[in-house]
Amino acid sequence: MNPHLSSEQLDDVLAGKANPAAVAHAATCVHCSQELAALSGIFGNLRITTAAVAENHRLIASPRNAPRAPRMAWALATIALFASVAVPLAVRRPATVQNHPAATPPVAMSDEALMESVRNDLASSVPESLQPLASTTTNETSTTTTRKD
């Protein structure tokens, strides 16, 4: 059997809630009194130093001075990436809108001209590409008629 104080009894003594037997033992046993003194010192130092460190970190981490949290950094990176893609697209789109009206009339005109030429081709008995030949033959017929006359 262990004659010294257990962790439960040590905690009770440290908290000042130990039963009289444990207190009496702590007062007479060198081993237990040394351990109690050591633990008391360690936990006291732990309380003091953690409070100081936490206060330093709290001041640094106050919302005004806080460095951005990792999640915030990811969110900012995502926004930057989106902006890098979206902004050039947004800038380019009005330019194409401005160019479009200027480019449209020539296309429309050429379409109309093309349709007009097709209509003329269909209307005329001789296709446009054979017009030079047709004109020479008409000249020849006119000359022959004049000869007959």
């Binding site: 257990s6 050591a38 003091i48 709290r58 981490a61 949290a69 990792p70």
Partner: protein
């Protein structure tokens, strides 16, 4: 932010019974330091501790209607903080950021805060080493043991207050606490033996 949150609370007081959390700015001013310290020592990461501290007060304000005064405001807040801590440490992101955190606190930072106005250089060095050993041994405790150990020996909560804050039974709290204390005592004793060699 907290001042803005307090304004809608004023509207609610007309229909809901008043709670200490209606004036969340005052509650924040009183308990923020304590909650942040607990979360910082549990996580050892300033950014994460700050985020969870804000989450704790936001949750407290949102669920203020459920506060019936069965426990103290500090215990209620601590219970919310412990729930947030548990949720946070379960995520995979926590494990990644724990490794990568630039704002993590270590033993040397703690030791630098130790002052020995009257002690000898030898005893000051021993205290430094013991503090470092204890800090590392606390890190090796299970999450539940560490929470209970910190609440007991840093926040100096009573055992029944710890039981309320953690939602555990008193015997369970005692069991975890004494195991944690055994672990820390052994580490401190081993460090003392190494120093005397």
């Amino acid at each position: 932010m907290l001042e803005q949150m307090a304004q809608p609370a004023d509207l609610l007081t007309a229909v809901a019974p008043a709670t200490p959390f209606d004036n969340i700015a005052d509650v924040h001013a009183l308990y923020e330091q304590r909650i942040f310290r607990f979360l910082l020592l549990s996580l050892r990461d300033r950014d994460a501790a700050l985020e969870l501290t804000q989450d704790t007060f936001l949750s407290a304000w949102r669920s203020r209607a459920f506060f019936r005064g069965d426990c103290s405001v500090a215990t209620w807040l601590m219970r919310i903080a412990i729930n947030h801590l548990r949720d946070h440490t379960r995520t995979g992101a926590f494990k990644f950021w724990k490794r990568a955190a630039a704002t993590a606190i270590d033993a040397t930072e703690l030791q630098s805060q130790l002052r020995h106005p009257a002690s000898s250089a030898e005893s000051a060095l021993a205290a430094h080493q013991q503090l470092g050993v204890v800090w590392e041994s606390v890190n090796k405790l299970t999450e539940r043991q560490r929470t209970i150990f910190l609440l007991r020996f840093v926040d100096e909560l009573e055992l029944n207050e710890i039981a309320e804050a953690t939602g555990l039974s008193l015997p369970t709290v005692k069991s975890h606490l004494y195991r944690a204390l055994d672990h820390v005592r052994t580490a401190a004793r081993d460090a003392g033996k190494r120093d005397t060699r």
